[in-house]
Each structure stands twice: as structure tokens, then as C-alpha cells.
Symmetry: C2
Subunit: 648 residues, 2 copies
Amino acid sequence: MANAIRSLSMDAVEKANSGHPGLPMGCADIATVLFTKVMKFDPADSKWADRDRFVLSAGHGSMLLYSSLYLLGYEDMTIDQIKNFRQLNSKTAGHPEYHFAQGIETTTGPLGQGVGNAVGMAVAEAKLAAEFGADLVDHHTWCLAGDGCLMEGISQEAISLAGHLKLNKLTIIWDNNNITIDGAVSNSDSTDQIARFKASGWNTIEVDGHDQDAVEKALLAAKASDLPTLVAAKTTIGFGAPKKAGSEKVHGSPLGAEELAGAKAALGITYPAFEIPSETLSAWRAAGTRSQNVRGEWQSRLAASAKKDEFERRMNGTLPAGFLEAMDTYKKKLSEDKPKVASRKASQMALEVINKAVPETLGGSADLTGSNLTNTPETLPFTAEDRTGRYMRYGIREHGMAAAMNGIALHGGLIPYGGTFMVFTDYARPAIRLSALMGQRVIYVMTHDSIGLGEDGPTHQPVEHLSALRAIPNLLVFRPADAVETAECWQLAMESETAPAILALSRQNLPTVRTEYTMENKSARGAYTLVGDLDAEAVIFATGSEVAIAIEGMKALAEKGISARVVSVPSMELFAKQPDAYRAEVLGKAKARVAIEAGISMSWDKLLGDKGRFVGMNSFGASGPIDDLYAFFGLTPKAIVEAVTAQL
Amino acid sequence: MANAIRSLSMDAVEKANSGHPGLPMGCADIATVLFTKVMKFDPADSKWADRDRFVLSAGHGSMLLYSSLYLLGYEDMTIDQIKNFRQLNSKTAGHPEYHFAQGIETTTGPLGQGVGNAVGMAVAEAKLAAEFGADLVDHHTWCLAGDGCLMEGISQEAISLAGHLKLNKLTIIWDNNNITIDGAVSNSDSTDQIARFKASGWNTIEVDGHDQDAVEKALLAAKASDLPTLVAAKTTIGFGAPKKAGSEKVHGSPLGAEELAGAKAALGITYPAFEIPSETLSAWRAAGTRSQNVRGEWQSRLAASAKKDEFERRMNGTLPAGFLEAMDTYKKKLSEDKPKVASRKASQMALEVINKAVPETLGGSADLTGSNLTNTPETLPFTAEDRTGRYMRYGIREHGMAAAMNGIALHGGLIPYGGTFMVFTDYARPAIRLSALMGQRVIYVMTHDSIGLGEDGPTHQPVEHLSALRAIPNLLVFRPADAVETAECWQLAMESETAPAILALSRQNLPTVRTEYTMENKSARGAYTLVGDLDAEAVIFATGSEVAIAIEGMKALAEKGISARVVSVPSMELFAKQPDAYRAEVLGKAKARVAIEAGISMSWDKLLGDKGRFVGMNSFGASGPIDDLYAFFGLTPKAIVEAVTAQL
């Protein structure tokens, strides 16, 4: 049965003339045991909520997964898809792409990410099991990782978090093949991985990855452990290839006709390319159906459960009925109270409403809770001892946090949000990109969003980050101006089912600028005229903490007899999606156009056009009190007045 | 003597009403031993090449360093600077900023970075010692790291690399205080750090961080070890503060008047704020001078050394005399040969010239040597056994690689370059930002720079990365169009003494477009007219692999009777620095303006202006053969023709 994986993988890579045969050949025995004997899933219902999750962290070995999905009988994974490996518009992309085919639980390829995703999935399972009971939620997360995954720093963040949280339903299978792209692992690494995982509180098991019985025993022992388990499986990369097995030559290129023929001969594969003997295929397909009864029993339990509706709502990702009303009531109150608070504080105030109305939020922070203000009365910690908690103490692990949040969102049933300083989006960027690529509802609460954080200085002050984040496709970047916009942006982030959101929030206090209540979520338009007449001589665009400065600029212009209008731009992405007529109205025909933002101009250039002027940063920041910094870098009403008058 | 650090640190944080007193108070004993008894340095010559390096990876504890520098007698660290802690334009920024004051060896604050820097410094030391002998190079690197540094994934990359390379002249002192910002370390981490470091091949020593004799013994034992050493120093954060010591409350805010008075009383500090008793100050100052004889002897050895001139050239960062001529000869040959090669291959060809002419390059790759083509005949590996090697096998550790390269550059005497796939600049981004902030000559060889890499798909295809990198201040982003431009850009990167460089290089073959030799380095202008008349009706801007497509577009336009000009833009940053007249000439007054680049438009918006059109990407990429992808995403001569004709 393992040879079926090997032959399909070799054939597909050969036909595509591109791809990675080494891992599928080396891990075929492991995958065979895992998929045909150990894991719980049903190809007939690939989204079954209580299925085991499988994460191929070593995503370059995608043919291992595609071959297995085909063999197990997932209906969309046809032999034609296998034959179209790595071709445009096939389901069998170079690396596994979430959404492309059933049974692909996450997009992998950037190494180490899958380990973080798997930790998040195991967190979600534990949390939902605590909420809904083992009758409805009781499954395991399996992650296949290579040496590359384990060398990436993110793996340390993930495994130390998993060990700390004693995520016993998580198993990492390490494809221990001693080979990296550049040659022997020993060229670049001497880590004792067993000792390393033990140091992080893991159970460890060593096994011969080509001894299927031993692998089965190891995986079952891992499943039974009360700790997360590393199964270190000794394998031969490119197992079966007569000349290239065990070397880096078989990692990432087709075998070539001769070596392929030799491999098939050595493995006893006598059938033609892309053809699996019916006996073998039948055995695989039968294995694919073996959890059908278990699923049937589960569905009966669900049907009989008092928690059925809530469970289904949660797994469907639909927000609860009371959410909109709670947000609206809260917005009304804000416009009356007109609080002058930092938008990070406004975020916490919004979260107090959200966490009360929406039980599926799972908050957290990378050890900056008191700064990010990501906690509310509801957010007791999720710990090894108490899985009912709604708050992840992620530790100083921004990258691991983001990858885990991807896993939590992918698992379903929970909406993860997590905080750190905005400048540290850089640490989490590869995982943020994957949130966007996979279209996951992950909410990044990024506080201290400019030089406005003051004394901590340039290492902590985002300057290029707003532009750099806006550059990522399918990512919503929100920078609200006051408590009302913060509530609106939080609502939009919660409602965004196919794109992650960044909330860029200030450290410093901001006055309420949306003093008149509107039921309409104005931030949903991305940009709107906050104050001033449409036919004003000047238009001033601003976001976040600079909106209040823009209003001061407008007043200063008025004193000079120049009329101006202020447009708040909480989200450039949403504004870009508005109808042309609305965009034209907001952009207007003012003679002078200025934008102010405490960051670089890049993402503003298009909106400003040839004649517009930008008031912002063009260098790194500096350490000093906030008022000194805003004055030093010229983020002032005066600078707005000068930019406008220069144009008029 | 340790109380002198504590009192200055408490006073400075209190006066600034901002900062982190906890670490300086907790680590004062360690710093006292390290600076007054163990380390080799001379405040009178802060750039002495053979000094020990100290890295405060836990950069928030900056007052520990500033206090020590003042006490040791570094002349620019006056008491007024201490009093101006965290004020604009002081040398005593919130976090230590390289360049700001003598004795600050690197900019720290983003956690874990200093650990990577220290590894790089130790690599540089070992390499230079092998080249110049222990007579000239024989010093130690000391790094003080907190729990946050060790939780960050980058620390795992750094320590596993250091352990593998047996960097015995490296010591990490772990400020083991059990506290993070959110509370007890045990809230978020249970790692057995001793076991973890041992698993990476480190020597480990545990010590009471407040027992100065024990600390001295531990540090000397670390220095004598034949392995890198972790000194796990048990400390009390905020040592001496009566109510807040040992808790997170003393980490990142001033003590407050009452607690400060209590701490001083408890510590027996009777002298006024910012005043150190002359006896104590004298003892510190005497300690500061204790390596003067050692330095004198070293200078005598240098003066007598046959390697003096070369050593000084290397440490000054001056390129060797033959470099320019070698590059020029090579360029001439290229314009004659007109090779059609990928720019990653062209980069290797350039490196073959550079590595022969410039002995101080230290190459490497994050396990993608055969893809990045960062190797040449000169680049034998730098290993635990052979320190003469010129190539770092960084392993799958992009972030650790970048941070180590920062350390290598900061150490001096070497020019580091390192490769990975362009998309994985995201993994290294926090360290790339620090290269730019510190203005270090670090060269990032980033291959596979667009959808042109083909089948690996969207996880491996940079789309937003060119814009996102151009967004970082003081970073030179080069995207050369052919082998000639690649040589020119490499030359510019080598000559860039105050800014790091990214070389964005293609996987696919590119024709030589610079077929006529010019002595002038045209890429130095950032953008220039490659082909066509200045008064053409259309101007087409392009970079890298799209320049050849732009030329095809120009030809297609000519067939339609439309004249066009192609401008190659190897570096937007350098173009932005050109005189207005030159910029105006290149931009020209063509009726149609188009840019083509296999990335998003953001960084082009300014140059394109209101009427310009962009041919590029506005989504993630896809998996497929390159030709299919370029056609699918419309990166074609036809799209250029359409964009031009739509404008005319």
C-alpha cells in the first residue's frame, strides 16, 4: 500500500518535471499506517467536525498528501488531478493549498508554519472539548514535520507552548531523514531533537519509519500519552531510488526516467504510471471508509445533543444573534459619552462587549496583556489544568502566536485574536501572510502603532508597517480614529469570514471624533467624510491618531479663511472596494489634497496623486516623549496648513 | 559598585518617568563582575579591534549599559546623558542604539536579536583569528539575554547554529528572574533551558546572579570552555525594591518616589540622585583602565605585524584596491558575451569575481546554496573544525542568518552576504530592519523573486515583497535586469557602507539587455533610459525579469507606429536620490507612462502618477509553469501595448 503512494508521487513529479519525490517516498510507510489504521476521518464528509486533523508541515512533500487523498477516496482528488500536479488551476498545487481540495487542512510550504498551525488546532480541540464535551469533540492532531520545520525558530515557539499547555492530543511525526537541501543535516545542525523536545515537556518515541508495525505502535502510544508527543521516525529520503535514496539529490527534483525505472524495479512496482492495482486501491478505499460508523454514532450524538444548534453555529462560523445589537447599543453610548481614550483602550472596551456577546472568541497576547489590553472579565486563562479558559498566554512568541491562531481559525468553532506591539508584526509576518492567503478570520490586535508610543524609540516604533501590511493581498488593515471607529472596525473584523484583520491601535489617548451616533458602520466604507463640506477648498485624509490632528489643521485653515474637509480612512482596502461614484465623492475635487499619517507615504501615493502632499515619516523614529516626537517629525496641524497653502 | 548601577538606573528611569528599572537592578551584580573583572576593553579606545564584545540582548535594560559606560569612564557617556535618558537627541535612547554612544555594540530591543548578533560576532572573531592569528584577534563575545530573548524562536536558530559551530568564545548570560511582562514565566513557559541548551551542544553553568564571586568563577569558566556556554544566573528582578522586587511591576515602569526611597534605603544608598560617591566612581574608573596595558601590547604586536595594513584595511571596511578594476573588466566581458542566464546565476558569476578580489566576503545560505547560487570556488565551509572557511552553512534559519550577519558586519573585518528565497525575507524581516536601522553593510541575496519561480506556488512567490522591502528606510532594494546590471548592483551593495542591500534575483533566464559596455555604473543612478529616444510617445518602466518584456512591448508598439522608451529601474532608492534634473529627464514627458513589475503596484504609484498604468500583480500567485503564470497574470508585451494605447 505504501508503494501506491510512492509510485503516484514519482509519476506525478516526473510528469510535471517539477516537485519533491523524496519525502513522499520516505514517508509513505508512515502515511499508510497513519491514514489507513490510526487516524479518524471520512472522505465522504471531509469537514466532519470531529475528524482528526493532519498537517503536512513539510509542505513540499505535497504528493504524499495528494496520493493519499486519492487512494483514500476523496472524490475531488481524481487521478487527473494527480496527473495535473503543479499545473495552473489544478487542485494539486506545488504545495498544499487550503480550499483547493478536501482533506487539505492548511496551506503549508513555508517551513515550521504547520507545526504552529497544529498547536493551534490542538488548542481549539481542547477548548471546544471542554465546552461541548468529549461526546462531540474528541479528536487528535497529527503533524508531519521535517528537519527544516524543526530548524526554523517558529518550531521552538510552537513546541514550547504546546509542552507548557500539555496538549496531549497533539503528535508531531518527525521525518528524521538526516538530509536537507544542501546535504547532510550534520552540515548545519547537531541538535539532539529528542532532548530538545523533552526540555519542552514532550513525550518522545523513536521508531524506524519503515517498520509499519512499529510505526503503528508508536502512533497509538503517542495518542495515549498525557503529553504532546514527538515520534522521531528514522526514514530514508527517496526510499527505493537505487542511486539517489538517502541523498539530497532526491529532495526537490524529478528522479529522471532511469532512476524512476530503477526505483520501481527495486520496490517491486510493476504497474504502469498513474495506475494502481485494483486490489491495492480497494484496500485503500476500504480503509478510507473505516470511520464511517464512528461518524454515524457521532452524528447521532450531535442530533440528540442539547448543544446541537450552538455547536453547529460555532462550527459554521456564524456570529450569534445578539452581536449586532450589542455593538450598536455600545456605539450609541460612545457617541454620548465621548471618551478620550487610547484606541488600544477603546479596543478593550469593544472587547468587553464582544466577549460578552460572542462566546467563541479566544483572546491572547504575546506577553503584553497590560499594554495590548486584550483582556476582559471573560478572559480567564486557557491552561494545562483548565481548558475552559478564553485567553491564551502566548508568551514572547509573536510568530508562534500567529501560526497558532491560524490553526485555531482553521479548526473552526473559535475566533482567535491576539495582541503584540505593531512593530512586531514583522516577527509574525510569515504567518500573517498565510492568514491572508488562506482567508482565515484571525484578528491581530496591534497596539503602539506609531512614534506615538514615545520613549521606547525606533526599534519599537512602526514606521513602514502600515504600508508593508497594506501591501499583503487579502489583509484588512484597520486604523481607527477613536472609540467609535474602533468599535466599528472590531465589528468588521469579526464579520470578515474570508480575510484576516489587523487593528492598528494607539498607545496615546485620542478624543472622540464621531460624536454623532449613526447606525451605519461608516468604517465599512473604508473612508468617509468625517467633518467639513464636500465643496471645501482642501481635503485632508487621515487615519487613527492623526485624525484629531487633521481636525486641528482644518480649524487652523479656517482661521486663515480656507475651507477644508477631513476624511477618515480606517481601511484603505475597504475603500478600494467601494463603487466608483462613492470613491469619487470622497476624493472630491478640492484644489488641495493632503494626507497625514504617522508612517511612510507609500500606501498613500495612489490616493494622493500627482498634486497631493503627504505629512508623515520618511525615516525611522526616535526615542523621546510623544509631544517632542510629533513636533520633531512635523506631524502637526501647522504642517497640514503649510501643505495646503503650498498647493492653493 | 553594583549599587552605583542600581541607583543611576533607578534615578534615570524616575526622572524620565519612563523605562525599565527591573533588569538593571537585577543584573547589576553580574554587570559589575563582567565589566570590572572579566571583560577586555578600553574606554579610551572604544573601537579597539580586539576588545571583547558585549551585547545587551534584553535591550529594555538599557540603563544597565548606560550606567556601566558612565561608571567605566566612556567620555561621551556623561552624567548629563544619564539625566537625559529617553529624551529626544540624547545618547541614552529608550533602547541601546548603535552609533549613539561608544560601547554600544549593537541596537537591541526587539527580543532575541542580540543573541543572533552575538553568534555573528563570535563567528567573525573565529574567522578573523584563523586569518590573522591569535596575536591580533583573540576576544570573547558576551551576551546578556532575558526570558523573552530565549522564548523568541530566533534564539533557537542562533543557539543551535552556535552549538553546531562550537563557538567557544561565546557566552550567553541568562538573566533568569522568573518574570515576564505578564507575570511569572511559569504562566507561559515551562522550558528546561539548561536541558535545551545542552541539546544544542552548549556548556551550561548555573549560578546565583547576586553572588559576585560565584558569578566571576562562572564567567571565567565559560571563557575557558571549549563550547559556547550558557551561564544561567538566578536573579531577582528589581533587586532591592522593597515591595516590587521579584515581580513584573518593576519590569517596565518607574518605581515611584516611595518605592525608590525604600529601595535606596534597603540597598544602603545614601547619596543623592545621580551622584556616585567618589570612592565608588574611582573604583569603577580604575577598572575601566585595567586593559590599557593589554591594548598597548596588542598595538605593539599590530605595529610589528606583516599583516598590519591588511588588518587595518579590513577593520576600516575599505574595499581592496583591485576591486573596481576587476568588476570593470568583468562588465566589459559580459557586454561582449551577452549571456542569457538567470540573475541568480549572474549573481554567482559576479561573486566569482568579487570573492577572488575581496577576501573579506563571508558568504552563506539558509540551506538553499544550489538555488541561491551563493557559492564560488573560494567558499569552502566555515565549520567547527575549520575556521578559515568563507561560507556559512546557516541551515534552515533565515532569521538567525540575518541576525548573525548583522553581528558579523558589526564586528567588522568581514562583509557578510547570505541567501534564501525572496519570499522568506518575511522570516528575516525583523533582522533586516535592524540592518537598515544600524546602517550595516549586510547583503541579502534573495533569489526566486517573483511568480517566475513557477510551480512552487503562492507560498513561495513574492508578490508584495518588493514594495514591502522598499518601505523600509535606509534599505537598498536592487532588482537587476541582466548579468551586467547584476554586476553593477553587486558592486553598489559592496560599496554601500551605511546601508544594507537586498538583491532580488530571478530563477528564470534573462537575456543580456546591456549589450554595450559602459564604464559608468548605470545602476548607480537607480533608473536610466535603457533603450529608445527621450522624446518617445510612451515610456515603459521595468525592473529585473520584466525589462526584457518591456523591450518586447516597445517592439510591439513600434509595429503599431508608436514610439516608446524603456527605463530600467534597478533601485528606486538610488533614483530617489538623484538630482531633480536627472529625475525629470528619466521620467520625461511622454504621453503614456507604464510600469511593469511582477509584484504589486504600491511602490510604483508615486512614479506612475495620476495617468500612469501598472502591469503587475494584484493578488497572490499560483502554482504552474512560468509561461502559464506570466500569461495568466497578464505580465506580457501585449498588456504593455494595451496600457500604452489606452493612454494615447
